[in-house]
Symmetry: C2
Subunit: 306 residues, 2 copies
Amino acid sequence: MSFELTILGSSSALPTSKRFTTAHLLNINERFFLIDCGEGVQIQLRKYHLSPAKINHIFISHMHGDHLFGLFGLLSSLGMMGRKADLNIYGPEKMEEMMSSHLNYFGPLPFSLIYHVPEHGKLIYEDSKIEVEAIDLLHRTQTFGYIFREKKKLLNIKKSKIEKYGIGVEDVVKIKKGDDYVSDDGKLISNSELTMKPWHSRSYAFISDSAFRASIADKVRGVDLLYHEATFLEKDRKLAKQTLHSTAKQAAEIAKRAAVDKLLIGHFSTRYKSDQLFMDEAMEVFENTVSVSDGDQFSIPLKRED
Amino acid sequence: MSFELTILGSSSALPTSKRFTTAHLLNINERFFLIDCGEGVQIQLRKYHLSPAKINHIFISHMHGDHLFGLFGLLSSLGMMGRKADLNIYGPEKMEEMMSSHLNYFGPLPFSLIYHVPEHGKLIYEDSKIEVEAIDLLHRTQTFGYIFREKKKLLNIKKSKIEKYGIGVEDVVKIKKGDDYVSDDGKLISNSELTMKPWHSRSYAFISDSAFRASIADKVRGVDLLYHEATFLEKDRKLAKQTLHSTAKQAAEIAKRAAVDKLLIGHFSTRYKSDQLFMDEAMEVFENTVSVSDGDQFSIPLKRED
């Protein structure tokens, strides 16, 4: 029952000797979501012992090279490794046309690419346990943030009570949804006696790249883990505004307004000497902030709802 | 007066946790030639403290992703770093069309790309000191090898003789080309008394990817350093033939026939467990063989001609 984020690349536009460009891998119960795909993502996956073959869904925030150029090598290698299963790509309108043009020279692939274009505030992915909402960001090209949430979970029934009252399978299903139970001898057993609170539904929001938009806070309200880009420091707030990026303080303001549990910041411009400058600025506003580095992993443990 | 090759990527089609895909950087007296451009080449350049900005010439062997996908990130980063100078790209016919299609989505760049299509046996690059010859290889798409040679160097005049006979600048130039000298008192001084043998003209040949072709040996005859791909072992010679690649033994046979000084082998298929298998096979035929790894550097020192 894992919910684990791995940072595959944490640099801004230019990679450094220690940081690849943006890519995150989110593992929700062995369902793997690749979020952005900077150059060398296939190398990073190998370095951190993560299997490229398990990825069926790739979410692209926007079509700038530092968030995307790893896609060409990754898809090509998946093809050489014999992949046959469809691969879903979520991203801007032009993705399909661009990839099709690229594959004119380097394709075809032995598997199908299925493209999905996000709509603000709509679910772009859904299965029985997980849903992903896309939101518009404010950058120099069409850009999306993605919010990954486990769906609301059912109540957990106490095993001891099943045995005690001899509850059948059909009734178990009803009780997990909140029903009370009538025992064989006609006694009403309240749901609260039979069940424990459900497991908390975990969530992760990925916001990169974007100028500060207060409305993002409404969208990511209460998520467990928020990644928000922090390209600049406050002293370069003008530059952030011009290039439609955020400062560390602005990222922290979003986290505070949204009352998230933990904030991750990254995508630091290489003009600054130390990550600590970003941390100092962000933590003044939102204390539970972590600056991300390649290879970092963040797990959200299972816990009962309050 | 350096002549130094750095291996930036040494894997075959799939990168591994230790090897990036093919890319070599050749530094001839601070003139930097990038040869093939596998994914992540800009990251490798940084890792090995080599400046991407100094590269003015990029030679591409063929349009397979593992030799090329690093070009997108490299060019994009050079643009962000403010490059204005033209960049020359040498490679297959389709390079220009492919790049132009790519830059429709990710360009434009703030500098010009100048394309050069190789012709077998012709010089594709030439300056006052260096020449580069392109040769056809035999692979599944149009593929070229490149031979980098310092031009024949002039005789070195002994400083003591210039002083002794008071030789003027114009005469120095003539003597370096082989002329004798007539001193102020009419005495003929033979060239051999005035000069030392010139410095040896150094050379490097890059052969990747290709099936075994005996004619390659004629083309690379006598080079100091030959890199020849060795994707397979002899036990998979059939597979090498089918995929138009070479075995370690075949690479060594080319080196032996061509009487090169040193052979470098790489591009090993990831199906084999140890590099030593390739070395054992090659060294039976050609002893001075080295298997390359990312970060390896090979310098050819200056020495006098025999």
